[in-house]
Symmetry: C2
Subunit: 517 residues, 2 copies
């Protein structure tokens, strides 16, 4: 596929014939596919009437119930000046105001990477894939489930860099619990900046850490470049229902002022943080995003933002969040429609699952979510690979398992060519009734690029597979993790920049005592 030809910086196997094809296929490269540009329609589950009801109700929520901006007098002041009715910390937004404020947010933007071939476009028909975010634990076959460390984090950055279908290095791939809470962001950003050349996310856990993130980007990209360009996309969660806490909003303020992108994302477990109905949840999601995006535009009109919707359902027996459910897919499809009507890039989906292991449950739930995200018009997909156990665990094996499936999304999104070559009438003529296409000219000319190819899954005959140890997907994935890490080579970086980054991290660490909560 042509899109994999961009940004090749690695090595490839060479030779001819079947053995060479196999070698080529399994050779580890750091080819990275270009972000997906969909050539297929979006799946629209809601009709116009349903959309209008939800949009009208969201305006009612904003006006009548309002949203809470707690411990944030600056935000209340901005809202009051914009015409909202502020009572205590509750902001009542008159009908239409939030939507009008959202109009200054760009419909799409470029996030720059230090390797310009890896810049991503976010919005329109694009789909950018980023890995798992946030788990305090990691799991692999040999070590089991354990608290994550900075070494685990670095390993995930390397795996992300080596993953052909992953466009983005992500953010908090796992929580490096062995590093003081107030210094983790420095080590994480340093890893993204030095071990990969893909775009990445900034810290949101304190406004000062967002500021550090901007400062480190100024070291990496240059101050002028950062002033003129978006080089980070960061995750701002709304405290659903309808609450915007000062810490997250503080980080959003830092990023918006610096013209850096934020995902404004309700974090919803349906039945707990939102109603048990799909239409009710969509109403709340829309109200929350309208308020959050409008606020970003009050801070800086034109600041790049993404309409986020992270949605799970609650299992009414255990209270656990569930993933890959039909309700989650319906909400994703509906939220995509609402985002497009608002003219904003859309974030949802990912390799979400509740399973404890990278087993069939994990894969069903993940595939359900990945398929919905592709067809639902997601532009930025966080958690695209590596997510396990409801986001408590980052799994090394699942990272490469999901990353392989992301190739399926690329090919499916490319649509169906119907040019003369694709029509293949010569092949049908050549082969005729009862014949075989393997040897025909059309097949010989096109078989290499015709079909998506896995780098992981097993297609061997039963007997061969059995002789090879009857390995399941998890075992194959563990072997692939080992191979990718063995083949990893750090992308080059100007030594002066690397030294400056080291210096920044050391200076910021020395400037404050360790904090562990």
């Amino acid at each position: 596929m042509a899109e994999t030809e961009v940004a090749r910086t690695g090595r490839r196997g060479r030779g001819g014939g079947g053995a060479a094809r196999r070698a080529e296929r399994t050779a580890v490269t750091t080819d990275t596919a270009r972000f997906i540009e969909r050539n297929i329609p979006n799946f629209e589950i809601l009709n116009a009437e349903a959309l209008e009801i939800i949009e009208a109700n969201a305006e009612t929520v904003l006006e009548e119930i309002g949203v809470s901006f707690s411990e944030n007098p600056g935000a209340l002041k901005l809202w009051r000046a914009a015409g909202a009715d502020v009572r205590g910390e509750r902001v009542h937004i008159p009908r239409g105001l939030a939507r009008r404020l959202c109009a200054t947010a760009p419909a799409r933007f470029t996030q720059h990477a230090r390797n310009p071939a890896r810049n991503v476009e976010i919005g329109g028909n694009s789909l950018v894939l980023a890995p798992v975010y946030g788990p305090p634990f990691v799991r692999d076959m040999s070590g089991g489930r354990r608290y994550a460390t900075i070494e685990d984090f670095r390993t995930f950055v390397k795996l992300g860099y080596m993953s052909k279908w992953l466009h983005h290095s992500g953010g908090t791939l796992c929580e490096p619990t062995d590093v003081p809470v107030n210094k983790r962001h420095l080590d994480m950003l340093h890893a993204h900046m030095t071990l990969s050349d893909k775009p990445f996310m900034g810290s949101v856990t304190e406004p000062s850490r967002a500021q550090d993130s901007v400062a480190m980007c100024e070291v990496l990209f240059g101050r002028d470049f950062v002033a003129r360009n978006t080089v980070m996309t960061s995750l701002i969660n709304i405290n659903s229902p309808l609450s915007f806490d000062a810490t997250m909003m503080g980080a959003l303020e830092v990023y918006a002022r610096a013209n850096q992108a934020c995902i404004v994302s309700p974090f919803i477990v349906g039945g707990a943080m939102a109603p048990v109905s799909v239409a009710g949840t969509l109403t709340q999601v829309l109200a929350e995003v309208l308020a959050g995006v409008a606020y970003s535009q009050l801070v800086r009109p034109g600041a790049p933002v993404i309409f986020g919707a992270f949605v799970a359902s609650i299992d009414m027996n255990s209270g656990a969040p569930t993933f890959g459910t039909p309700e989650a897919s319906q909400i994703l499809y509906g939220a995509g429609q609402l985002a497009r009507r608002l003219g904003l890039p859309f974030r949802s989906g990912g390799g979400l699952c509740g399973s404890k292991l990278p087993d069939a449950q994990a894969a069903y739930e993940t595939a359900n979510t990945l398929n919905a995200a592709l067809l639902g018009g997601v532009n930025f997909m966080l958690h695209a690979c590596g997510w396990l156990e409801g986001g408590l665990v980052a799994s090394f094996e699942k990272f490469v398992m999901d990353a392989d499936q992301l190739g399926v999304l690329h090919k499916l999104a490319a649509g169906v060519p119907v040019d003369v070559q694709a029509q293949a009438m010569d092949a049908i003529r050549e082969v005729g009734p009862g014949g075989h296409f393997l040897g025909c000219a059309h097949t010989q000319a096109h078989f290499k690029d015709a079909f998506w190819r896995t780098d992981l899954l097993d297609y061997k005959p039963f007997e061969t597979w059995d002789e090879d140890g009857a390995r399941d997907t998890q075992v194959l994935a563990a072997a692939r993790v080992t191979k990718l890490l063995a083949d990893y080579r750090q992308p080059s970086l100007d030594p002066a920049v690397a030294e400056a980054l080291d210096g920044f991290v050391a200076q910021r660490k020395a400037a404050q005592p360790d904090a562990f909560a």
Copy 2:
């Protein structure tokens, strides 16, 4: 959900509170959901121009290349009389003729079950789910992979009967290799007719066996009923490319004359039996279905038929068929559009996978196919559960794993209600910013039916799951198989009918020597 209230014939746990809810949830019943009636749009991957190109090319294939009806002088005679240009065994069909002949086939039809509550509608916006068909092997955790027997077959009939989301008992659930080839169909039909009350499929391996299938239905339903109603849907594979062999066509002739339904289904591994391109494969599929359905209408105008498309791709390294690939999904989506333009019910999809085990690979591939089948407008989904190893193996564990996921399809297909209750504005008002929805009136009123609920997957907290043995999906599924079989109760059947069926099977077995190939 209301659709599960139909056809309840089993037992339910009773009581109140959390424990009772759990008991109710895990209680085994023989509730069977009504077939799916989609309340969501179809996903249409091809635009009008692409569809017209493919349709025009299919007519060219039929006219210029033609199709082969080998060793079937009766068919050639019918085609000649209809206006085709027959040269040897090659039938060249003038542009437009096949499509005109297809016009007498019904857009939808009812397949009757002996329990009328389990009748299914095939066509329009319906989706009927039927289990795996054809594997010579079975696999379970305790016994591994082995040749299938008639006892295995009966076990699968029982599992299908106990599966809430499965509407159809299917056909050759596995090949009972311990029964002579020429007598298997009698034992298989006997099992479907006596161990289940869901609709089923007839034999297609010999015209005489199709005749036996009709005769057994006359015993079960009564001769008059069978003359007036469709009581079987059987699978007629086209020998792709473009060949219609006399055995399969002989079975089709028997069924069409008896007004029984046939799926006319190209059996395609892309790159081997069709071109390596999606558009080329769709062209061939359409040409083959047009010819096969037209032939069924020559045999008996108005005979019920289904536009089938079984499509896999070949792995160019191993030659193995692959499933759940993006090309297979594209072909499925496109074939659905072609079927709807032809006004025919559509068969495709299923829980298709290439994996040897019911592991993550199996689940990714299966979920990719199930999702495409739902959104692609499939009306009859064979292989919806239990399929493993490219169809070589019927897996007991995967049967119940997939069958659980079929519930996801039901809920997703139901669409998104936007009535006042679903809008949930009272809930959003009641809870307000920072509140919690678990206790609110709306949640209490609706939580039981709000979300799809698994009967299999694990949502426990990590510690509980770990103490319970850290079971993966396959282990949970093995336990569910055991439970379902322990709870199985044979549906009642008029003893006179049961005796007559026994007698028919005994008489037909005695009338011929055993054949083993």
